[in-house]
Symmetry: C2
Subunit: 231 residues, 2 copies
Amino acid sequence: MVRARPIPEATVGRLPLYLRALVEMAEEGGTTTSSEGLAEAAGVNSAKVRKDLSYLGSYGTRGVGYDVAYLIHQVRRELGLTQDWPVLIAGVGNLGRALADYRGFAERGFRVVTLVDADAGLVGEVVGGVEVRHVDEMPALVRQHGVAIGLICTPAGAAQEVADRMVAAGIRSILNFAPAVITVPPEVSLRKVDLSIELQILGFYEQRKAVLADVKQGRGRQLAEVAEPAR
Amino acid sequence: MVRARPIPEATVGRLPLYLRALVEMAEEGGTTTSSEGLAEAAGVNSAKVRKDLSYLGSYGTRGVGYDVAYLIHQVRRELGLTQDWPVLIAGVGNLGRALADYRGFAERGFRVVTLVDADAGLVGEVVGGVEVRHVDEMPALVRQHGVAIGLICTPAGAAQEVADRMVAAGIRSILNFAPAVITVPPEVSLRKVDLSIELQILGFYEQRKAVLADVKQGRGRQLAEVAEPAR
DNA sequence: CAGTGTGAACCTTTTCACAGCA
DNA sequence: TGCTGTGAAAAGGTTCACACTG
């Protein structure tokens, strides 16, 4: 029986950070690094780096550190970046266009091979070197290009339907940029990026700062008003 | 002494989801909801909803549920969305343009009031109804518009310098879209959105699926190769 | 002897399960 | 009676600190 090693989700989320930092090091001619050095370059702490990397295996050398090129290879392999991933983008609005053109995807092996939209007026237009096709053609396009990952860049109202069509067409990983909750069968991976959520979180802390500043100046507005009793 | 209630970060991150779900309910004429109903609409489970909302206060009615309009108000207030936040975008490339035009920001009170770029050739162009200005003018623009939040949409190489300029100009909350680690003083809030990281995480799980499928078919390639000893 | 790899302690978050209230 | 609000338990993630090794 094969034991699948349980790499924690949190670790998986940081591997791309390490990879980016390592690639930068390699480009600047670095050949080895310590957990300390990698931690700084990736914006985390060194204990986390060591623990995370230990889930992949024992790739460091005690007293020395990690070999940059070798570690790049291991992280790439773990993330599945030794192969190209054909990507489909549904929804050719502002965001879809920006993503179709985004260099960062191609650099990491994610090739945008198809764009689809429900608007027949957009069909035929070329964006980022790829021709826009009608969403009805999705099944054929997915088969033809071997699409593995679909990005949803449609308005919120269309997101669920597009997701359903993606699943029906055989796509098993979806990244949703539309501000809507969508559901997919359990065998399909789903992640989301909500641009305005991050902004709202910043707003929360920004407001908190303003309130705290007020309190310090003896004006205990908001917080006092809503403060809970001692528990 | 004013006791600042400690709302967990994880909860803060979900408040925008609840808010979006609640606003949708209100638009469809809903007046009350249960933790169960809100959970489904927000894509989480009901225990989480109840615990999260309990950090804000006791806004539900036992045996009944939550009043949608009232809860919207409370969540908005908590997130600081009862006021407008003037936003500056640095870097008018594909992504900067898409964000300058993004309806989802304006809908939630985040108004893009200024665009800046280092390329003098872009200065004067109007994007999303706002004129592009030169990055050197940032301090004056921040003062003039009362900018609270800055978005970095520059290439990775320029991100740290732009962040430094934002801080110097008085911006205290930064959302970084550039694929680079940047550092800011502790009093400045910093969050990041890395578009390609989510894709890489999907790649990881997609690969994992392929490997598991192979194993089931008796071809134990990758996993067996790298599996760790029993501990 | 510098720096990895890792148990153990600690902290945060999630989930459970039910008392308590409208 | 039905659903909230919340202690308590469980799970997950982070940090500490040091044994171990090249």
